[in-house]
Structures are given as structure tokens and as C-alpha cells.
């Protein structure tokens, strides 16, 4: 019997459809259907200025907006041969980690709620709100930040921000203990999650699975360590790793990542306190340096013969490895942008970690993948 779990279904957390073939309560086949949220971001980008694409990136993944901005900005800066100032890089790292915290807390909330436990959902939303408050205090937005610019970030953090941020980090560290008590301390949780959705390291690599799913299989692969971008080579942190490759292992990896993120945020705050400086690169081309896109660029571009190039950047987004490929042919719009979403790939491997389990296991397994449909469909 084929059962449609979606497009409107409490398990899907977004707009996609998991077609499940079941035999009694046993899953015999699955077929994820995506595309319900396809907005054609890659097509719209063809008609937008480099900076205007940032607004699209925020909507690419609605729980990890600023991380996606970083993905795109990295590729765009490569394509345009621009380097952001140091302070901007630190700010980006801080934003990435705050976003990772927000995204993982959101994941925790939704995942545990799928197991039928509603209190952690509200605890999670409550604590995530503090991070959104922090974001709002310097970007002006709570979900769609529009903070990065080609060549840096829009503005510096306001005074007093670092102290507030530290306070929130302390609060969060206490909450993580509570989260663990509610989940790992509960035998029912362990019995629901242990041994579910196993995807071993070899399969993970073959299927291109990245992020916490891969790290839960014992592969300590993290772009922040392996191929440090921005200033990740200057902060200290450990790569979270687990060996069981099941749902509990993914839970453990994400919880550990949150703790490491707090650690990184604290280091960035210390750096930011002592190193004032510009946050936007100087000597930007006119149509990038200005915060807007003025008229009359076409003739200018022809006369200036702006350098062309193709940029590629990979960023360890909360869900996994996000990559962007930006082709700059010298025009004011990128010729082609291509984004690689980690969830897209993790979802495409669904057959390999879902078949053989039971219908009741679908929510925990899918929850542990951390689906964000916005970035699957783009």
C-alpha cells in the first residue's frame, strides 16, 4: 500500500511528499517527491545584481539564512576577485555559528515534537528566540537578515552587543543540559531512536551525504576544519562525531555541535571586542560598493572591462556542506548561479536509510535528517 506522507502532513516540516510503500507497519519502499517549494532561485538570480541575490539566499533556507548568505557571498567574492576585510570575516563566522545554534535548536524542537513530546518544542522555540533577538539587534531582521554584502557585511555590531551575546550563550549552555535530560535521560527516547535510520560511512560517502548525518557515521569531516574558510582556522573547536550512524548518534552530534558553536561564538566575541576596523571592503567597484544598484551601468561595464571569473565556495551549513558556483561574465548580473544544498542530497539517499523500518519510525528518521524544504527545492 502506497501512503502519501505529504505534501501537507505533520511529519514533512515543509512542503514535500514522502511516498511510502508499506506492508503492515513495515516500510518496503520510499520515494521522496520534492519541488513543491521550487521558486527558481537560480533563474531569478540571472536577473539580479550581485547584492540583490542575498535577499534570495535568506529565503533559500528559512532556518539558516545567514549561512546561505555566506555560501553565496563566498562564491560571488571569488568570482569578482574581492576579499572582505578581516573584521567582516569574523562577523561572518559569528553569524554562521549563531545561525547554526538557531538552526539546531529549531531542529531539536521539531524533531522531539515528532516523537510526540511537545514540551521541548516550546523550550526550543523559546531559546531560539533569544538568538533571533541577537540577530535582530545588529541585522535588523529576525529571519531574513540581508546582512552580508559582496566585500564584507552591511554594518558593525552595535555597542553592548558582545555582552548581551555572552549572556545568551551562558543561558543556552544551561538549557542544553535540560535538553539532554529530556531526551537522552528518557528510556523511551532511547528505545525510539537507537538503531534507527542507520547509514554507514561507506554508503554516506557514496551517496554524497554530508553534515551531521555523515559525522554520526564516524567520519569526522567538517569543512570548517578540513578546508577552513573565513577565519575558521583561527578559532578553536572540535569536530563533533559519533559512531552509531543512527538517529541517536545524529542527536548526539548536533548537541555537541551546539556546544562547539557556543565555544566558537565566545572566541569571536573576544576577538571582536579588541579589534575594531572596517567591515566593508574599500575600492569596490561602484555598483558593488554602493549599497544600491544605480542606473547606467551597462555602458560603464563595457568601458571598464571588469574582470571575469567563476567562483566556487563551500560552507559548512547547519545541515551539511552547502556550495555555490557563480559564473561572472563581466555583466552586472551573474551569468549563472548554482547552489548545492546538503539536504537535497541527504534526502536523495532516503531509500537507503528508511527501508526496513516501521511507519512509526518515519518521523524520527526524517527528523534526524533535518529537512529544510526551502533549500531542497531552491
Amino acid at each position: 500500500m502506497w501512503v502519501n506522507m505529504g505534501p501537507q502532513h505533520p511529519m514533512t516540516h515543509g512542503l514535500w511528499n514522502l511516498r511510502v510503500k508499506i506492508d503492515g507497519e513495515l516500510i518496503v519502499d520510499v520515494d521522496p517527491e520534492v519541488g513543491y517549494l521550487h521558486r527558481g532561485i537560480e533563474k531569478i538570480s540571472e536577473d539580479r545584481h550581485y547584492n540583490e541575490i542575498i535577499t534570495l539566499m535568506d529565503r533559500c533556507c528559512y532556518v539558516a539564512g545567514i549561512a546561505w548568505e555566506h555560501v553565496y557571498i563566498g562564491a560571488a567574492e571569488n568570482a569578482l576577485h574581492i576579499t572582505a576585510p578581516e573584521r567582516a570575516q569574523w562577523l561572518r563566522v559569528m553569524c554562521d555559528e549563531l545561525q547554526r545554534l538557531a538552526s539546531h535548536i529549531m531542529w531539536y524542537a521539531a524533531f522531539v515534537q515528532d516523537l510526540g513530546l511537545m514540551s521541548p518544542f516550546l523550550y526550543g522555540m523559546r531559546d531560539r528566540d533569544l538568538i533571533l533577538d541577537l540577530f535582530q539587534s545588529f541585522t535588523g531582521g529576525r529571519l531574513t537578515y540581508e546582512y552580508n554584502r559582496v566585500g564584507g557585511v552591511r554594518n558593525d555590531v552595535p555597542s553592548g552587543f558582545t555582552d548581551r551575546c555572552r549572556k545568551v550563550m551562558d543561558w543556552l549552555m544551561d538549557r542544553f543540559v535540560e535538553y539532554d535530560r529530556l531526551c537522552l535521560g528518557s528510556e523511551i527516547f532511547r528505545r525510539r531512536c537507537d538503531g534507527l535510520g542507520v547509514l554507514k560511512a561507506k554508503e554516506c560517502v557514496d551517496l554524497g551525504v554530508t553534515g551531521p548525518m555523515l559525522r554520526s557515521a564516524g567520519v569526522a569531516r567538517d569543512l570548517r576544519k578540513d578546508r577552513p574558510y573565513a577565519v575558521y582556522d583561527r578559532v578553536e573547536f572540535d569536530v563533533a562525531k559519533a559512531d552509531a550512524a543512527d538517529v541517536t548518534a545524529r542527536y548526539l552530534v548536533r548537541m555537541e555541535e551546539m556546544r562547539q558553536s557556543v565555544r566558537i561564538v565566545r572566541q569571536t566575541l573576544d576577538w571582536l571586542d579588541h579589534h575594531p576596523g572596517p567591515v566593508l571592503a574599500d575600492h569596490l567597484p561602484r555598483w558593488l560598493g554602493a549599497p544600491y544598484a544605480p542606473m547606467g551601468n551597462e555602458g560603464y561595464l563595457l568601458k571598464r572591462n571588469f574582470p571575469r571569473g567563476t567562483g566556487f565556495a563551500a560552507v559548512e551549513e547547519p545541515h551539511g556542506e552547502a556550495q555555490a558556483y557563480v559564473v561572472n561574465t563581466g555583466g552586472e548580473h551573474p551569468y549563472r548561479t548554482k547552489f548545492r544544498s546538503p539536504v537535497f542530497v541527504n534526502l536523495s539517499a532516503a531509500k537507503h536509510y528508511m527501508i526496513g523500518y516501521r511507519v512509526a519510525d518515519i518521523p524520527p528518521i526524517m527528523g534526524s535528517v533535518d529537512i529544510c524544504v526551502g533549500e531542497v527545492d531552491r
Binding site: 568570482a79 551517496l207 569531516r221
Partner: protein, 158 residues
């Protein structure tokens, strides 16, 4: 020089199909190859160079031809490598990378439906993001964004 090393390493199995190995912003290098020998190149990159992880498959419409690019990652060298092939002709097609990297499955489905590059011997070539009977390839340059009146979905399944 990294690019020369790559070229020599690739030479025994796919030397004939390699057009160039060029430096690339953000990647170790980019290998341009002939689409006819795609599978050989993939195998060489996967087995000999150890790039066991396919990150991305994308296609670009350059109006006169189309380009397919692959980004692969090696856990040993911790490096990305780009592969790219230019496809010409009215019906551009290339061998599917799924036998070498199973993760190419959805990427190739997406590249086919958005840019119209056919992947031969793909195990499951269906529409992914678009409706099942969508007749256009939206990421072609000829597909204009601001002229929606020209676009009509030919048939629609209920």
C-alpha cells in the same frame, strides 16, 4: 604544480579524453574533458585520484553550447576538484555519472530538467522539481523570466 600532477595522474586511464587541466578560483583545479569519454574520466578521478565524493553536478547554457560541471571532493587530500565538459549539438547528452558516484542521481535529474542536458543510462530519469509534464527547461537563456505570457504548460495532469 598541482595541475601538472593531476594531468600526469589522469593520463594512464583517461589521458586521451582530457582536454586541459586549468587552475580555478576556489578549487584545486578544473579538468576539462571530452564528453565522449566521460565515464573513463569519472572512473579515473574516482579510483586513481581518490575523489570519492561527488558534491555537485550542474549545467550552464552558453547559448551556443552547454557545459556540464562536476565538483568532487577527496577525503584524503581534503580538496575539491572541478570537472567540466562542453556539450554541443541540438540534443546535448553525456554519460551519467551514477555508476561511479551514486549521489549523481538527483543532481542529474535536476540538471536535465532545468538545463536540458540528457544523461545517458541514468537509472531513474524523471522530473524532480517541475511538474511531470513540464515541457520547458527553465534555466536556458532563451527562457525569459519576465514574459510569462509566452509560456503555457502544454498539458496538465489532474
Amino acid at each position: 604544480m598541482a595541475t601538472d600532477d593531476l594531468a600526469t595522474q589522469l593520463a594512464p586511464r583517461a589521458g586521451a579524453n582530457i582536454l586541459a587541466v586549468e587552475p580555478f578560483q576556489g578549487l584545486t583545479a578544473r579538468v576539462r574533458f571530452r564528453p565522449e569519454g566521460a565515464l573513463d574520466v569519472f572512473r579515473a578521478v574516482h579510483d586513481d585520484l581518490g575523489y570519492d565524493h561527488l558534491s555537485m553536478v550542474g549545467a550552464i547554457d552558453w547559448v551556443d553550447h552547454r557545459e556540464v560541471f562536476y565538483i568532487v571532493w577527496s577525503d584524503v587530500t581534503k580538496q575539491y576538484l572541478g570537472l567540466s565538459a562542453d556539450l554541443t549539438g541540438d540534443a546535448p547528452h553525456i554519460e551519467s555519472a551514477t555508476p561511479v558516484w551514486p549521489s549523481a542521481n538527483w543532481h542529474e535529474r535536476e540538471a536535465w530538467e532545468l538545463v536540458g542536458v540528457a544523461f545517458d543510462h541514468h537509472p531513474d530519469m524523471r522530473h524532480l522539481l517541475m511538474p511531470d509534464d513540464y515541457a520547458f527547461h527553465p534555466l536556458l537563456r532563451s527562457f525569459k523570466l519576465h514574459e510569462p505570457e509566452e509560456l503555457e504548460v502544454k498539458s496538465r495532469s489532474v
